[in-house]
């Protein structure tokens, strides 16, 4: 029986994939396996079993420490063969997306990366991803014997878990250490943020004239109970950490309220906000494309509107 094999370097994401993979496997008449790799593999394996994997391949080879892409790709390629996988579904995190190309090449597979949806169509899994910088969504079917999909985190929701389910399998891996050496890790400046979880999100763009004006936006976030996100330039200029980037190369946010300040609304940003419940845009240019995406549009200078909104929210 052919198999679906799932893997992600992020456990929460791996659980989503295992859960969704179980559904796909049922629809396609396949088995569902997961891979747990690296020092935490044993603990992860139990969870992945609970979330739906019939078999969990546990790889603890010392070469996997640090989860360097070349070694993980080799391990997954060996596991995929052992499992008899037809589909390998991995998380399109940074590491996962890098992995997808190398793994697909090893498996002689075609791959879809950054998939925002995967659905069963007939006897196939079909994946969609943004194309033309986000202007369109391309739906693709893969025709190689083994198929690789890298799916963006939070694409799938998880449901009930069954503790204790899933058989642990120890694959026979033959790995060599990575050609790439991790010299050191440094913490990033600024506090850790998780925009994925934000219920309200205020995003700031190039309408902000200088870094020193960020507190104005922070006050609004505080008054609204919102996280702060941003467009790409602000990350490139290192005004804000890339964890705050919303859009094609950052987080695809799903808040109930999204409010943009001084953002033009170019597609690479708006693809990250499409699933927000309510979208509000403040921009001084009444022709800014962002207004076409907005439920409420306020034409005005953020330097006037943002403080006014902060005050109004405080008084409320």
């Amino acid at each position: 029986m052919a198999d679906i094999l799932v893997y992600s370097d992020l456990l929460t994401n791996a659980k989503e994939l295992a859960y969704a993979g179980k559904g796909f496997a049922a629809a396609l008449g396949m088995g569902i396996s997961a891979a747990a790799l690296g020092p935490n593999a044993d603990a992860d394996a139990a969870e992945l079993g609970a979330y739906g994997a019939d078999r969990v391949f546990v790889g603890k080879d010392p070469a996997l420490e640090g989860l360097q892409t070349d070694v993980v790709a080799e391990a997954l390629a060996q596991i995929a063969k052992e499992a008899g996988a037809e589909y390998v579904i991995i998380g399109s995190t940074r590491r996962g997306k890098e992995l997808a190309g190398r793994l697909a090449q090893k498996l002689g597979a075609a791959a879809v990366t950054d998939a925002g949806s995967v659905v069963v169509e007939g006897s196939d899994l079909v994946a969609s991803h943004f194309s033309y910088g986000g202007a369109t969504v391309a739906k693709e079917k893969v025709n190689t014997p083994i198929k690789v999909f890298a799916v963006m985190p939070k694409t799938f929701e998880v449901g009930d878990v069954v503790a204790g389910a899933g058989t642990v399998v120890t694959p026979s891996l033959s790995l060599t250490p990575s050609a790439v050496k991790l010299v050191e890790t440094k913490p990033k400046e600024g506090a850790a943020v998780n925009l994925d979880a934000a219920d309200r999100l205020v995003c700031i763009g190039r309408g902000l004239a200088k870094k020193e004006d960020l507190p104005m936006v922070e006050s609004l976030c505080a008054a609204l109970g919102a996280e702060m996100g941003c467009t790409k330039s602000l990350c490139d200029w290192e005004w804000l950490s890339e964890n705050r980037l919303v859009g094609l190369s950052g987080t695809k946010a799903k808040p109930t309220l999204y409010l943009s300040c001084g953002i033009s609304g170019q597609v690479q940003h708006t693809v990250g906000i499409g699933t927000s419940k309510i979208i509000v845009a403040i921009n001084k240019d009444d022709k800014a494309p962002i207004f076409a995406f907005a439920d409420y549009g306020l034409v005005g200078d953020i330097y006037a509107v943002v403080p006014a909104l902060t005050e109004a929210l405080k008084k409320k």
Binding site: T69, R94, E98, A100, G101, R102, A104, Q105, A109, A110, A111, T113, D114, V126, S131, Y132, G133, A135, T136, K141, V142, A179, V180, K181, L182, V183, E184, K186, P187, K188, A192, R200, K232, C235, E238, S241, N243, L248, S249, T256, L257, V267, G274, I278, V280, F291, A292, F293, A294, D295, Y296, G297, L298, V299, V305, A308, L309, E311, A312, L313
Partner: protein
Amino acid sequence: MKIIVPVKTNPDLQMIRIKNREPILEAVPYKVGDLDKNSVEAALQLQAAVGDTQVVALTIAEGNRKIKDTMKEVLAMGADEAYILSDDALTAADQAGKALALAKAIEKIGGADLIVFAEGSTDNYSGQMGPRVAELLALPEIGYAKKLTVADGKLTAERGMGDLIEVLESSLPAVVTVTSEINEPRIPTLMNIMKAGKKPTTEWTLGDVGLDAAAVAPQKAVLSNLAEEQQRKNVMIEGSAEEQCAALIDALIKDGVLEA
């Protein structure tokens, strides 16, 4: 040292219109991808830092009939030489086929000490090509570099991974992919544009790199490629800043996304 920069030219995304959800590509000019300019710039900065380095741009035409003109921009930025691989079969190819063609072309050029990709192409952003070419050429690869240095025959790269910055090291030859944070690409000067016309540009077909159409045949089928539909209220709130904010708060409360 020799650095090869695979560069993609893509349709000018600002010029693509959507009509009945379909992208209209007719008459849309091609340009060097924004992110690919970052990789060219990264190579040029390494060239300046290391010295005695040749920067070679390599592209697959992908339907761009004016590719020679488009590639002039890369030469004008400072690349020393360009190779263009044009073949109708490559326009239809997917990442596997194009990566194979790039790998064969890199071999034919005589290999490189460093191959610099962008983290993803500006239009398609699949991010597969760098890792695929690394695998094909059996080279180490470091993705998402936002800082690059080469010294003592070694490559050091910094990249952001979640809440951490990783510093990684690899021997050469190697493949890297870079993000847009790495630099601000230079804008070519008039003089360099004039000189670019005289720099060597070599055009190859698939046959020239030892491949045929079957070797790069697409293995994915695009079932559809349409713009998503957005249903939004599109209410414009007018008035003074205070009036706008009051009206906005009322509306958000009515929508149930803000407590009264």
